[in-house]
């Protein structure tokens, strides 16, 4: 089936994969809100949501339904187009990153090999960077279009925080790139399957990356853009209904995706630890599904750590945040990068 010299089966296959991954991200983000409340309740010795359905399992649906039926208010003086564009951009940029993450090995169906990755591009990591750097716009445009001083202040705080922590994040990743020798995500995972997980070689790099991921997701202790006691409600002060829901929801999708990126770059992706799964001799489809389940388990672990940190550590002060970013993390990640390069060169000379 070739029309306009496009392989239409290929297009269909990718379309199905995109739909599955996006709905999966949305469902997981939905249940992360439930997990957040349950874990918070557990840490604070409470019961948490337990009314909607057994163990409160339908609570996210009830929350979503409530947000859809709330009255939608658009401030009279704000720019209406930009006011709507803000939350839409936040949502789109949160979902875009999932395109380059390898979710498992290939699945064989109808005589075709289907890799569980939407786009195995040559510049995988740089693509993630590009999307992360665009993530600022959703918050900035929304905060400005609200025409509210608190919103604008919160938006500027969020933007300067994201720009500061992107640098340390990039420098921490360069060390990983040197180990893997490629920007392609599938090659990075394969390198870890062959030589062991990157977190063993790059513990410092992982810690820096994790701290920066917390800051990029605007999670506690870096949630200064939503500091209630200083800014009322933050950049989404004027938002109501599902537009507010989009902002809150985008945060959980960002958490899910950054957990997936961490699992892929530092914890072996879909690699099953301690065993050589290729020698089992089971069908590749089953193996791909097991790999996917293992990746999910790693992601859920990181999500739990995100929530755990939120309910344990208080918020930074703004100058502490900037000091940590510029005077702490950036020199540390630079040192990590140089050290990795030197050690790699010495090992190469010795061999």
């Amino acid at each position: 089936m070739h029309l306009l010299s496009i392989d239409w089966w290929f297009l269909l296959e990718k379309l199905v994969l995109i739909m599955v991954i996006i709905s999966l991200s949305l469902v997981i983000a939905m249940y992360t809100t439930y997990a957040e409340r349950k874990v918070a309740a557990w840490l604070q010795d409470r019961r948490g949501p337990n009314r909607a359905g057994p163990w409160g399992i339908l609570q996210p649906l009830a929350d979503g339904g409530k947000l859809f039926f709330k009255e939608e208010i658009i401030p009279l003086v704000s720019s209406k187009f930009l006011f709507i564009l803000g939350p839409s951009l936040a949502m789109i940029t949160a979902l875009l990153t999932s395109a380059v993450i390898p979710w498992g090995t290939s699945i064989h169906l109808f005589g075709r090999e289907m890799p569980l990755q939407i786009a195995d591009v040559n510049i995988g990591i740089l693509y993630i960077f590009g999307v992360v750097s665009l993530g600022v716009y959703g918050i900035m445009i929304g905060g400005w279009a609200s025409n509210n001083k608190f919103s604008l202040l919160a938006a500027i705080r969020a933007a300067s925080q994201m720009i500061s922590y992107e640098l340390a994040m990039g420098l921490a990743l360069i060390a990983v790139l040197m180990l893997a020798g490629s920007l392609q995500m599938s090659v990075i995972v394969q390198n870890q399957i062959d030589h062991g997980w990157h977190v063993i070689y790059q513990p410092l790099g992982f810690v820096i990356f994790f701290i920066c991921a917390l800051a990029e997701c605007n999670r506690t202790p870096f949630d200064l853009a939503e500091a209630e006691n200083e800014l009322n409600f933050g950049y989404h002060q004027e938002y109501s209904s599902m537009k507010l829901g989009f902002y809150l929801f985008a945060e959980y999708i960002n958490m899910f995706i950054s957990s997936a990126v961490m699992a892929t770059l530092f914890f072996g992706g879909y690699d099953i630890p301690f065993v050589n799964e290729a020698s089992w001799g089971i069908s590749p489809n089953l193996l791909a599904l097991i790999g996917f389940a293992v990746l999910m388990a790693k992601i859920f672990f990181f999500l739990f750590v995100f929530i755990w940190i939120r309910w344990t550590i208080p918020r930074f002060r703004y100058d502490q945040l900037m000091n940590l970013g510029w005077k702490g993390l950036i020199p540390l990640s630079l040192a990590n990068m140089v050290l990795t390069a030197v050690v790699m060169l010495i090992l190469k000379k010795l061999n």
Partner: protein, 176 residues
């Protein structure tokens, strides 16, 4: 018409339309947003030329960093229609004349150029891939590359010096 050509014409039209909208928008925030669309269209062109690295770096540096700073400044200045200065009539005429002269020079320069007859080859060549580009930069063009990095360093030092000066001036004023 193949899919590459359809994409080429679509991206070209998008880039030109957004570029016109950048200067036609009354609100500077809209101008910045249209400029971001221009960068995306140009990155699309790079992708068609198989220069993936250039495409993504264009987005990271221009759309992701420089335009954020532009937006920062414009939002903090809080430009409104009411705060727009009244333009002089003669200034407008001078602007039109200068723009017309520039157009004349450009047309005259491009009229006899050889490039107008040869079209860029789409989707071939792999010099834009990161591996080949890196090798070329660090072997054939290593001296220009290093010199430009020194240039960036001097710009950075200059920015730090400018920033320092003001803060020491302020502390002197406070202590006085």
């Amino acid at each position: 018409m193949g899919i590459t050509q359809i994409l080429f014409w679509f991206l070209s039209a998008l880039a030109l339309f957004s570029a016109v909208m950048v200067i036609a928008s009354r609100n500077p925030v809209y101008s910045v947003l249209w400029l971001i669309v221009v960068f995306f269209a140009i990155s699309g062109h790079y992708l068609l030329l198989n220069a993936q690295f250039l495409a993504i770096v264009n987005i990271i540096v221009y759309a992701g960093a420089i335009m954020v700073l532009f937006l920062f400044v414009i939002m903090l200045m809080n430009l409104h229609k009411s705060s727009e200065p009244k333009r002089n009539k003669w200034l407008n005429i001078a602007g039109v004349l200068a723009g017309g002269c520039l157009l004349l020079v450009l047309v005259a320069a491009l009229k006899s150029a050889e490039t107008k007859s040869s079209m860029a080859v789409m989707g071939t060549g792999d010099i834009g891939l990161i591996e080949n580009l890196g090798k070329a930069l660090f072997t054939d063009y290593v001296i220009p590359f290093e010199i430009s990095s020194v240039l960036f360093l001097s710009a950075m030092v200059g920015a730090v010096v400018l920033g320092k000066k003001e803060s020491s001036f302020r502390s002197e004023k406070e202590s006085a």
